[in-house]
Symmetry: C2
Subunit: 498 residues, 2 copies
Amino acid sequence: MSDQISKFYAYVDSHEADFVQRLADAVLYPSISSDQTPQGRQHVINMGSYIHGQFAQFVAKPEDVQLVDLGFQDDTNPQIRLPPVVLARIGEDANKKTVFVYSHYDVQPVGGWKEANVQDPDAFILNTTRPDGQLIGRGATDDKGPIMGWLNVLEAHKSIADGLGKPLAEILPVNIRFLFEGMEESSSLGLDKWINEEVQKPNKGWFNGVGCACITDNYWLTTHRPALTYGLRGIAYFSINIEGATNDLHSGSFGRMVHEPMTDLVQLFSLLVGTNGVIFKEVEEMVPAPTPEERAQYAQLDYAVSDLRQDIGNPVELSEDPVELVMGRMRYPSLSIHGIQGAFDTITTAIPHKISGRFSIRLVGKQTPKAVHEIVDKFLRKEFDNLKSKNKMSLTLEVEGMPWVGDRDHWNFKAAHAATIAVHGVNLTPDYTREGGSIPITLTIEQALDGENVLLLPMGRSDDGAHSLREKLDRDNYFKGTKVYGTYLYELAKQVAS
Amino acid sequence: MSDQISKFYAYVDSHEADFVQRLADAVLYPSISSDQTPQGRQHVINMGSYIHGQFAQFVAKPEDVQLVDLGFQDDTNPQIRLPPVVLARIGEDANKKTVFVYSHYDVQPVGGWKEANVQDPDAFILNTTRPDGQLIGRGATDDKGPIMGWLNVLEAHKSIADGLGKPLAEILPVNIRFLFEGMEESSSLGLDKWINEEVQKPNKGWFNGVGCACITDNYWLTTHRPALTYGLRGIAYFSINIEGATNDLHSGSFGRMVHEPMTDLVQLFSLLVGTNGVIFKEVEEMVPAPTPEERAQYAQLDYAVSDLRQDIGNPVELSEDPVELVMGRMRYPSLSIHGIQGAFDTITTAIPHKISGRFSIRLVGKQTPKAVHEIVDKFLRKEFDNLKSKNKMSLTLEVEGMPWVGDRDHWNFKAAHAATIAVHGVNLTPDYTREGGSIPITLTIEQALDGENVLLLPMGRSDDGAHSLREKLDRDNYFKGTKVYGTYLYELAKQVAS
């Protein structure tokens, strides 16, 4: 087996250029799931077809790779189809463990990428020429890099299997069930429904016999140490809608004659969160203070204020204590104000008449979106009443995701831990992290597997800028990440399932 | 003379269709002065040339109509020319009074006009077919209607003069000096400088011998009663600039790790103004409370809460007392928050890293922009210090305009008063108003005339939506406005200059 791993590593080392080309090919598809035009959606669907074709090379039987049609997206006009789910299955050996692998092939929009990135003007043409090894392009790290990583693993093992004259599935140490979706950046529309239907089949359908899951859709805590992730904050994303007059008004003519929605909104916003990041009392009180033991666990992370500074550029950290900082991301709720729809960004003197103030709360522990929604709604109604405004106010819960904490002592984590050390060395023992962001599919998968362990195994670094301009994946992370994925399969096989 | 006015009215009555066509021709030019592209600016320049050509028909000598080149606009790249000032002079009779007339031929941008106005999709094609008499198009009321009104007056009198075999100037009761600019909606760039140079000529150049001024660039207080305007609020338009990290950050990863500029900004915004419209103390204290006499003057205005409701659509007025409402517009300062540059209007989870919060204060009395700027700056610095944020904050004064109050008892106003009653009848004795908005050129003109009286003589109604979508001018206002302009000239001639 050790010989086979060596061949795998050698294959990766000698095929780096091919693997980069594979990623560049995938980045070419502008698979922006939030683009609701028929043309925009077609790009996402095309990306799904491409992924389907890539995995089709490695399956034993045609039915082992599928494009699952999720039907139409409800809220679009004209109606557009949801992108397909891509399924691929390698191995059905009852004597081997079966691991479920999830990633997504859709990407975030590119906003002002062209203007901001004069050196890399096209977000969908991967920049592969940088001396620092950064591969810059939309989706490079989120999640096209990881998906291509899995393809790299299969290609390498197919080559080894061909050399041995054996089928690919036979030489792989575990069975794998892949699921790649195309709507993750748009609330995974349609996927929950499909998974729920699938698990209600007598044999649990695609989830039959799966012993653990691996999600490749997050990032290291830092730029310099690998991570295994066992927790996620949830999210409740809100709009405060305030409506005053029926039209925008000229502030010269109507200033100090009417209740202005912006005036009301900033009063409400100002009560939600302080400069120190502390949220209003009713939300803050839902989370107990950290115990000394818990604090000690966070203190083990290889994290310094300088790591944060590297990501944020300017010294605007909330604390000088790195333990407070990582707890700020991982185990405290946070509230961010994102912007206002209906207001102006140019120098215009109009009074906006109808606005939606956008903010979100990252949730932990018992903070379900429902519970927090009720608390926020009650709080804002009370405070809006206090304002004595004649405008109309309402609250909309736009996006929700449950918080999640998994079992970091499970053999699934032990396998990933061993694989990480095998590739990166013992000096880079992985950080055990909880993500500040939410990946709601994690909970869906855990439920689909009746509580079997779910691991998040990140490929990219903390500074990849997944949702920002100049998103990148470092070559080193891409190649070593490919090796970690492959080695993880071998380590899984070694584990004694409890 | 009375016979001549009758002929004038008859001409207007029999040429309504021609006058509407004249306005439609003028609206065709998309003369948006804030469009800084060379093509966009060319439209404004073309509009200036058109106005020049129109007035050239009515002057006695070629040099009585001029296109004044104001040079280049400094802050554009590539450099673009400023639109020309159009000057026209009718009459040089030392025995007649000379009135100076100002208006502007540039317009506001059209923003979402096309989407919002499915019935009138093109802002620059005047809708002349509505049974309610509204003429809908960008610039219809601000200020193409008024400029065409003056052309109508000249055309009618030219016809009368031709009938009498006399030159136009001879039958006009006063001398007129027109000045039309093309940058009013963009801070009148270049005009102040030209006026200051002009008045320093030995004979005061274009302003030589002018006895009073008439500005046709504002609106009635209501939809149903004409108005004469003797005051304007000033303006100080500010940006609060806050900078945190060097890039926008993902709120999942960085929420509760960094100081967020939006959090700081809404704290500052919330301190500036209350839901009741009252500004923070230091600004409010600059303005004395109204005396009983002053209050009585405002109580004379023909204004009801229902007038405001008609403009604003929903019942969001700050007070049920119409006197408080008109004082809110005319003699109190107001503070409006317009929006935020750098924040998001879509449902995005990013933390904006660099934002500019836009707000403006409408100024009255002793509130010069300079004095208010100092007070706002001091206030915000103190409050930002209190926040203990590591972000960087600065304040920019983006636009400034002085407040102004003129002499409403001057013969210039008496002439306009008499003209208004002559056209509209005694039941529509004009409201004496102060505008809530600012027209900074008013002060420049007053200074250029060494303090001679300046009158604002509005043509349009309060609901014309000058800077909004569906800007309109009512046919009745256009035709009666033309009559008022002409009659005003006769009434000016009657006045005994004090």
